[in-house]
Symmetry: C2
Subunit: 320 residues, 2 copies
């Protein structure tokens, strides 16, 4: 038996899974990424999800805890995590890149491409079941073209410029003012209040405006922002594409899945996606695939579907 | 007699000037803007520049202290400043917008336009000797198109993208790596080190890379950034232009003066400047013009030139 964990910025999910692909336990907790939750917070979240997943199970049969997680990991994180997991009678902890788990949440195949556009944006080529080339993921200030921050930042700038009388009037203005609780007023104080409100927040919170661009996708200003974002994401995917290396493109992140894939056909077309596109499911599915494969088990389509369906049923049963 | 003060982010200058336009004293100190220097630091800098300007003069003859300064001013700033200036036997303090002082550092005329592109960017229409419309100045995150931050930010993103293998190779890469003390290396660690170095600094420090774009103006990536910046500044000036309102355009800030005006003709042309362009001189000249005009004195070309030349001589004599 194995424990597979996907530790994300907002939630952490863990499953106990047998080498035959049977799911015996599931646990869920808060954000488990040490960059956003801090080391103690991340360790606590991962520990509590794992503890719930193994509740009532014979922990002696667990061969390893496979953890998929993004970003940098400090020695302090590893030490505290090993202690917490060891305290449950489990171990060792085996790390896997969350981008690879994301890819394998959409496919069991060993070659293809993964692209995520949420708050940030990143793409990878997968070859022989491993990340072969990763591009993007350089954060809101230095990269992440086409991401939620990138779109939301342009939305905010366009609204400030429109209120300032420089840029064109846009349907985004009332949406942004409403989102931050400011009423548009003819005296011109809205722009001052908007500017001081937005500077008082963390820059990355501008990503919250990205859904407004999709909501106003027929507005010329919003459409231009989204078209440029789609071009940037198409360029990101092109950068990792390798001639002759086919396989599915697994897409993840709210900007791609809830934004572009659900949006106007013209915008979707600009992404220049190949025919075989899969939407990422719960990253813990990919972590489970990686856990089984680590032991030499070949995860084929049948086994992959079994894992995915069991987890989908568990998540559905737990929905309020 | 009057004291005219220009309090900027890096230095504060004060002059004692008679209603006939004779300069009797001059003082200089550090940054006097409360936003960057803090209220006590700004009050100390302004106080020390004013104290030096009135040294040996009969303070009873000073009718007012005219202070040109950018940005928001708190009540605490006013209270502490009035106390410090009052302690010198001077007062009252009369505030003037630094953008108007910038305009009048280049011309005595009552109509025209001013545009500054330094770390930020802002433009104004001047009518009847007052700011009639101001556009821009919304800061690095929400505005400042074409500014030093805007250019430096794009320089940093282009270099990160080039090192990441996504964007085109650019002559900016070695310039940026050298500026932050990182050696380019074939193992690919330069991009990681550059990204972590830049995230550890304040975002606005990216403005330091703007001169690198002008230094590499023949490089296609740098040229594209500068062309877009010039277009943004041309658009800013267009926004404040009013048909029928002529007069000079006074340009200030390192990006305009040391960058575009000194750069390739093709870039300068993109600014679409009208025929009559003046470069801003020391903002304290404009503060002096405003101080004299407050008393009803008409500042004509002769008087303007006298003030400007006296101050230029003083600054030259003090140069190391």
């Amino acid at each position: 038996m194995f424990i597979a964990v996907d530790a994300g910025g907002t939630s952490t999910r863990a499953v106990a899974i047998s080498t035959a692909g049977d799911v015996f336990g599931y646990g869920r907790s808060g954000g488990g990424n040490p960059t956003s939750a801090g080391v103690p917070g991340a360790v606590a979240a991962i520990g509590s999800a794992v503890e719930a997943a193994v509740a009532g199970l014979p922990t002696g049969e667990v061969e390893a805890v496979v953890l998929a997680m993004a970003g940098e990991r400090s020695d302090a994180f590893f030490a505290q995590l090993a202690e917490r997991i060891g305290g449950l009678g489990l171990g060792p902890v085996v790390m896997q890149p969350d981008l690879l788990a994301m890819f394998h949440s959409g496919t069991h195949r060993l070659e293809g491409y993964g692209m995520v556009a949420g708050t940030g944006s990143i793409a990878a080529r997968v070859r022989d079941g491993a990340l072969h080339r990763v591009v993007g993921g350089k954060g809101w200030l230095l990269g992440d073209a086409g991401s939620g921050f990138w779109i939301g930042h342009r939305v905010a700038r366009a609204v400030v410029s429109a209120l300032d009388g420089q840029g064109p009037t846009t349907a985004l203005t009332p949406l942004v003012l409403e989102a931050v609780g400011i009423a548009d007023d003819p005296a011109g104080s809205a722009v001052r209040r908007l500017v001081s409100t937005l500077y008082a927040r963390r820059p990355v919170q501008l990503a919250e405006f990205a859904p407004l661009a999709f909501a106003a996708a027929e507005d010329p200003v919003a459409r231009a922002i989204l078209s440029e974002a789609a071009d940037a994401l198409a360029d990101l995917l092109t950068t990792v594409r390798e001639p002759g290396l086919d396989g599915p493109v697994v897409l993840g992140g709210s900007v791609l899945v809830r934004g572009f894939l659900a949006g106007p056909a013209e915008l979707r077309d600009r992404l220049q996606l190949p025919p075989e596109v899969v939407t990422a499911s719960d990253g813990v599915v990919g972590a489970a695939v990686l856990a089984l494969r680590d032991t030499g088990i070949v995860v084929d389509q049948d086994l992959f579907d079994r894992i995915r369906h069991q987890l989908a049923d568990i998540v559905k049963d737990r929905a309020p």
